[in-house]
């Protein structure tokens, strides 16, 4: 695969990455690179370790061995937190705050891209008019869209998306694909886990197939 035109170094590189839980290997050793402008689709059955891999990359779990480089530098916690936006299974929304308040808080915590406003992001993900709805009143799909709005506002170049298509309708799946395409055009990169090939962004992708260790 040819190196990306944006930067000579891959945005993310993993070498010999392994993770074990209770002495049982979950995945690895894995070697892969993701360059700016590329998406990496992580595929595998339930329990194959897709979520674990993303949590290791995000820094929520510690790998047993192996190295993770971001932009050619060893991924220290401070570098990781600035370079990575993580969309997990849990929405990280407070049920008693409304959509805009939740978004404002997460932007305050993670920073915000220049010239991007929380209100506009809500419109982009199809939640216009729901600014004042409490998160507890939103459906699972709408909560997902709210998380996508948070992701859209994040200044981090590397997106780690754990099952971004879950709970979304067809239009929502298109929305995710549009967002990933736009993000990659801006020189970002994305790791996307999915257990089926039912949806994939129309961009330059690499595949990483995880299998349960024998």
């Amino acid at each position: 695969m040819s190196p990306s035109p944006h930067s000579p170094l891959p945005l993310l590189a993993a070498r010999g990455l392994t993770f074990t839980r209770n002495d049982e290997p979950v995945f690895g050793p894995l070697d892969f690179v993701v360059a700016a402008g590329e998406a990496l689709l992580v595929q595998g059955d339930n329990g194959a370790g897709k979520t674990t891999l993303l949590r290791v990359l995000a820094g929520l779990l510690r790998a047993d061995s192996g190295e993770i480089d971001i932009d050619g530098r060893t991924a220290q916690a401070s570098l990781r937190s600035r370079a990575i936006a993580y969309l997990g299974h849990l929405p990280a929304m407070k049920a008693d705050l409304n959509a805009l308040e939740n978004l404002n808080f997460l932007c305050g915590l993670h920073g915000r891209r220049a010239r991007q406003l929380p209100g506009d992001a809500l419109g982009m993900v199809g939640l216009a008019g729901h600014e004042d709805s409490l998160a507890r009143q939103l459906s699972a799909g709408q909560k997902k869209r709210l998380s996508l709005a948070r992701l859209w506002l994040s200044p981090a170049p590397l997106w780690l998306l754990d099952e971004p298509y879950a709970n979304l309708d067809l239009e929502g799946i298109n929305l995710v694909n549009r967002m990933i395409s736009a993000h990659l055009r801006d020189g970002g990169a994305a790791l996307v886990t999915t257990h089926g090939a039912y949806a994939a962004p129309p961009v330059q992708t690499r595949m990483l197939a995880l299998e349960r260790p024998a």
Partner: protein, 227 residues
């Protein structure tokens, strides 16, 4: 990719906490109400004898404030752990210890500060001798943040467990005892006409130490708990 400053992230968290508190104000006043109940019941149980009440007033106040804080300890990180907010705290480009410190500040502002402000009134209820009030207020002002900080470490240690109500109390109690001894002790010393400054200085020293170490310890415990 400019991250938020410490101040931006801290104020965002504080605003969120205060807003959440306002949305659930019924629950929010529980600790303060609990402390009020303890004080009122004590006054009733001792039958309004000014002499007997005045002797134990400062100790009752201290125990009431301590228990009120303990009551709300389990909620310190529980909600944020359950809905995934804590994950986002860890991933944020500001130190986790800083966010923990801000969370403890909001806990103190909402459980201890109202009681400190109400202390003169509650003291009146318990016939607290007026000359003991300044020492009591100073000891509470120094001691309650220390309780919140120690409690945060315990709450962080147990955040990975499903049900930890009694465990939190058991773990926190030995840490709370020295604070109680120096806090209530300072008032008792001043009541006997002795110098209370020594005990207050101990509280102050403990507070300084906890301000530096407790957020770091709690942050480390949260990282372990979420693994």
């Amino acid at each position: 990719m400019n991250g938020p400053s410490l101040l931006q992230a801290g104020s965002a968290l504080l605003v969120r906490d205060l807003r959440l508190l306002w949305r659930r104000r019924g629950d929010a006043f529980q600790p303060a109400l609990f402390a009020l109940l303890v004080v009122v019941l004590f006054a009733l149980a001792l039958g309004g004898e000014a002499q007997a009440l005045g002797k134990v007033a400062s100790a009752v106040m201290w125990v009431a404030v301590l228990l009120a804080g303990l009551l709300s300890l389990d909620t310190l990180f529980r909600g944020d752990a359950d809905d995934g907010s804590l994950e986002q705290w860890i991933l944020a480009p500001v130190p986790l210890a800083w966010l923990v410190a801000v969370r403890v500040l909001s806990h103190w502002l909402t459980t201890a500060l109202p009681l400190i402000l109400a202390a003169p009134l509650l003291g009146e209820l318990l016939h607290l001798p007026r000359d003991q009030l300044p020492v009591l207020l100073v000891s509470l002002a120094l001691g309650t943040p220390l309780l919140s900080l120690l409690g945060a470490v315990v709450a962080a240690l147990t955040v990975g467990m499903r049900r930890s109500g009694i465990l939190v109390a058991l773990l926190a109690l030995p840490l709370y005892v020295p604070v109680l001894i120096f806090g209530a002790g300072s008032v008792a010393r001043s009541a006997q006409g002795l110098d209370a400054v020594g005990a207050l200085l101990f509280l102050g020293a403990g507070l300084v130490l906890a301000l530096v170490l407790a957020p770091l310890a709690a942050a480390a415990a949260i990282r372990i708990a979420l693994h």
